[in-house]
């Protein structure tokens, strides 16, 4: 018990003193998570929207594949992406392996199905009359789609935040594609795993607290966004 209290106290001190090593690890984690979420959102939100609003042959198959991809293990993605990005792989000439960019690529593959699937669900739940209303009021097809997306904004935002939460907490891709290089690709989760292996718990606990705080903040942002209209719906 003393050991835990001592680790927690030292971890809080580390956070309070803004330890440079810890700060850089947090920065790398936020950097890769932000860009992977951004890219996955740019691709996934329109993809989910198109699947939701269009009727096409094989739609059920596409949805099934998308839902299956939600359960894709991070180590499997890490392994496949490694095969492509390693020096002997098809994209080896780009020299991306063991860089933050490699982690971003892997994480985009991980959360793209999440963003697309949850956006699709959010759009599907929106009453079809919103689109008809926008069209009859003179909206173009694109404007009507934006009006529908606006109505589904909380669902889409929740999808993006869930995706961010997934990437900031994942370890397989960051470890296999980033290599856990100190001061370059070391993220909060890979650092925590390493510290645990070393038997050094202070940094691991400090990073754990930061990780939980980030998750808490993301949820507060979502609640605030929903606040104005969400309470009354």
């Amino acid at each position: 018990m003393d050991f835990l209290i001592q680790s927690l106290s030292s971890a809080l001190n580390m956070i309070w003193s803004l330890d440079p090593e810890m700060c850089f690890i947090v920065y790398i984690s936020l950097y890769v998570s932000f860009f992977s979420t951004l890219i996955a959102s740019i691709l996934g939100v329109p993809l989910g929207f198109l699947i939701a609003v269009n009727r096409f042959r094989g739609k059920r198959a596409v949805i099934t594949v998308l839902n299956t991809l939600l359960a894709l293990p991070t180590v499997v993605i890490g392994l496949f992406a490694y095969a492509f990005l390693s020096r002997r792989g098809m994209l080896g000439f780009l020299g991306l392996l063991y860089t933050p960019k490699a982690i971003v690529i892997g994480q985009v593959i991980l959360i793209l199905p999440w963003v697309a699937a949850f956006t699709m669900t959010a759009i599907s739940r929106i009453d079809e009359r919103y689109r008809d209303t926008a069209l009859t009021l003179g909206a173009t097809g694109l404007s009507a789609s934006l009006a529908v997306a606006r109505e589904a904004r909380f669902g889409i935002l929740a999808a993006i935040i869930a995706a961010f939460g997934r990437v900031i907490a994942e370890i397989g891709i960051a470890m296999m594609l980033g290599g856990n290089i100190k001061g370059f690709t070391r993220t909060m989760t890979t650092a925590m795993a390493l510290e645990h292996n070393k038997g050094e718990f202070v940094l691991a606990v400090a990073l754990g607290i930061v990780l939980l705080t980030v998750s808490l903040l993301m949820n507060i942002v979502l609640q605030l966004a929903q606040g104005r209209y969400g309470e009354n719906r």
């Binding site: 009359r129 008809d132 209303t133 009859t136 009021l137 003179g138 009006a147 606006r150 109505e151 009354n232």
Partner: protein
Amino acid sequence: MILYEMKGVKQVFDDRTVLDINHLEISAGRSYALLGPNGCGKTTMLHILAFLRPPTCGVVHFRDREVDWRKKFLTALRRQVVLVDQHPIMFTNTVLKNVEYGPRMRSVPAGERRKIAEECLDRVGMREFAPRPAHLLSGGETQRVAIARALACSPDVLLFDEPTAGVDVENQAVIEGIIQDIRKENGISVIFSTHKRLEASRLAQHRIFLFEGKLTGPGGENLFSGTVVKRNGRTVCVIGGKVELDVSAGRLGPARVFIKPEGIRILRPDQEPHKPSEGLVSAEVIQLTAEGDYVKVLLDMGVPIRALLSREEARLSRFLVGDRVHVAFEDGAVQVSA
């Protein structure tokens, strides 16, 4: 001027024909009521007139030009016609922003569209609701804001899908007043669906009757789905599983039955039929309504049926609402078609 012309228009959903219009013309600057029972194709027709759904087949002309249903041509057409839904849906925004939506889609500058929106809200008596969240309004208030939102688009044609359905009496009167004013003051063509005949009489200059997706011509009343069967040597049409009417021999099986309101005779229980063979059906008088030179009698004989009597006939028959009567049908009054 002809506003709409529909030729051979059919709408088929899942192999079921929900609308089948042979030929229909609608004039500009007039008001039309689309009448018919639930599921007769009124909403489907309004969606076609609003250019929201292309028909499965057939041709629609709008202002003498054939409608091209390709997406790129539809926005320009839709900007001349606005449909107000039966249960209008409000964007999760303020009432003012909702009413501003149409002008915004037409790239009207912010100041001007605010002015337009406020004027339109004023017109429906909802100005003070402008800053409120639109999705929290009551049914009647929502309907009024939806009308303001449609008016803000300055359309040439306004379509209403059952504008007073599910609305309290007070809002009903307000909405009817607004619809009347729109046509008189702005010369906007108004087409609305309803199953309330009195509302149609009050608000519309013309009435279009639909039954099972087809135009039924003037009258449009007393239309039923039935089954023609042989029973005890007679050919009868069974309506609603309750009422059996003698019909002249025809094809057995499902049929559409039309009973001419003016071919129905109402007899007091003590009165004898003109012909001993004449089949009588027992019924109860539900409603008596003056309609021009006639009196319309709504009867319940297991299914609701309307009879049309001259004022003199009505005066002599001396029956009142709630009386039990016998109903007889003149030759040719009951028409059966496949």
